[in-house]
């Protein structure tokens, strides 16, 4: 039986980008104008799908090899991306699915609609996933994605980034975000980054170079922690609900 962990803490909308942002042109016609309907979470949002290791393939957490199932290696600067998934109460979120997707080292996506000049890497698919361990920890190997231009305002560029989709343990915790790389000068001029208005929240999207996890003559490492929404705590953790 799923225990009742309490309602979700109301989402702090100031931590997120507003729906409407003229700097990111596509949002202009895709943003609701009416305020969202505020409500307390219900069991519908407090439950959610759970995915076990049975959904994972052997190579899913290694984007350098998974497209060729280990036969060939993708081109690019090899990196380990790692971190923890926590909730707003700083508790780890264990056993939750983390999905990632990204452009290849040249900035080209393997998508039927991407027609950028940079070549496709025959050995890179750009999709991976993993599940956090009991401490909320995840990691995957990949190549550093290239920056690429997009039309938006004529000469905009996306900084190097990896897309993250995280489930958490309830449908109301669902989050999609992007990880950027420390030191990339394109971060500060990216219209999509700038949809986030709080500077400290932007900093929370920038992964730090982490040499403690790097392996000599092999890969660099970047650390990226993700915080999901928490649930209202009304009792001490070690006491049963209602005691």
């Amino acid at each position: 039986m799923t225990t009742d962990l309490g309602p979700l803490i109301p989402r702090n909308r100031d931590a997120h980008p507003p729906a409407f942002d003229t700097g990111y042109k596509t949002s202009v016609s895709r943003s609701p104008k009416w305020p969202l309907l505020s409500m307390e979470s219900t069991p519908s949002e407090e439950t959610g799908p759970r995915f076990g290791h049975s959904v994972l393939g052997e190579h899913d957490n290694n984007l350098i090899t998974n497209w060729t199932q280990g036969k060939e290696l993708a081109v690019g600067e090899r990196i380990l991306v790692h971190g923890r998934v926590l909730d707003e109460n700083a508790r780890p979120v264990p056993h939750t699915l983390v999905e990632v997707w990204q452009a290849n080292a040249g900035g080209r996506y393997r998508h039927k609609k991407d027609a950028y000049f940079a070549p496709l890497d025959p050995n890179f698919g750009g999709c991976g996933r993993t599940i956090t361990d009991e401490d909320g920890y995840y990691e995957f190997l990949t190549v550093r994605p290239g920056a690429y231009p997009w039309m938006n305002r004529g000469n905009d560029w996306r900084p190097m980034h990896i897309h993250f989709s995280v489930f958490g343990h309830s449908f109301g915790q669902r989050l999609i975000t992007q990880m950027y790389f420390e030191g990339d000068p394109l971060i500060d001029i990216c219209p999509i980054v700038k949809t986030v208005k709080d500077r400290s929240q932007i900093e929370g999207l920038v992964a730090a170079l982490d040499l403690s996890k790097a392996r000599p003559m092999d890969f660099l490492a970047y650390k990226f922690d993700i915080v999901l929404r928490g649930r209202r705590q009304t009792r001490f953790e070690n006491k049963l609900e209602g005691m």
């Binding site: 109460n89 609609k113 989709s165 989050l175």
Partner: protein
Amino acid sequence: MVQKLDRLVETASQTAGPYVHIGCMPTYAGNAGALAIEIGTDGPILDGAKGEIIEISGEVFDGMGWALRDVMLECWQADTAGVYPGQDGADPAVTGFARIGADSDTGIFTLRTVKPGATPARGGGKQAPHILLWLTARGINTGLQTRIYFEDEDNSADPVLSRIEQRPRVETLIAKKTAEGKYTFNIRLQGEGETVFLDM
């Protein structure tokens, strides 16, 4: 000076962009085989799910009235008895979760599922049968959450619908029955008939 609270701030959302399907639905992106198992793409039910099988079709419109071709929807629902997967007594043939990419030419999406039962409300009472929807696409900065209710159910006492002050907007959350077992549910991101999106 007061003590600091032991709290973190939720990570900021960023748009899923136009290529969300690479990571979530690789076959849809043209990359069949990238993942041995794609989650949710077979729909929220397995063979033998108890209850009425229904099909809900619709489109997601932008402020121009143009259907989004690149939207990805996720659904979450209870079984015919109103029990969520993972809870005691849940129908094992209902996974409850689905991922749907709108047709890339027409923008039409289709969800085939069982009609959910009424589910508990927090603090007692029932919520009318509904399916949760979560939408993400290029230009949507934070995923949008809404619900599908059914016009042939009693929605009069539903606590969420009751909270909608502008009563005509309630209609935006109610699927219209078009034939036996068939419903239409359109979503409008902006403009006339803008769908009610939820924040909890």
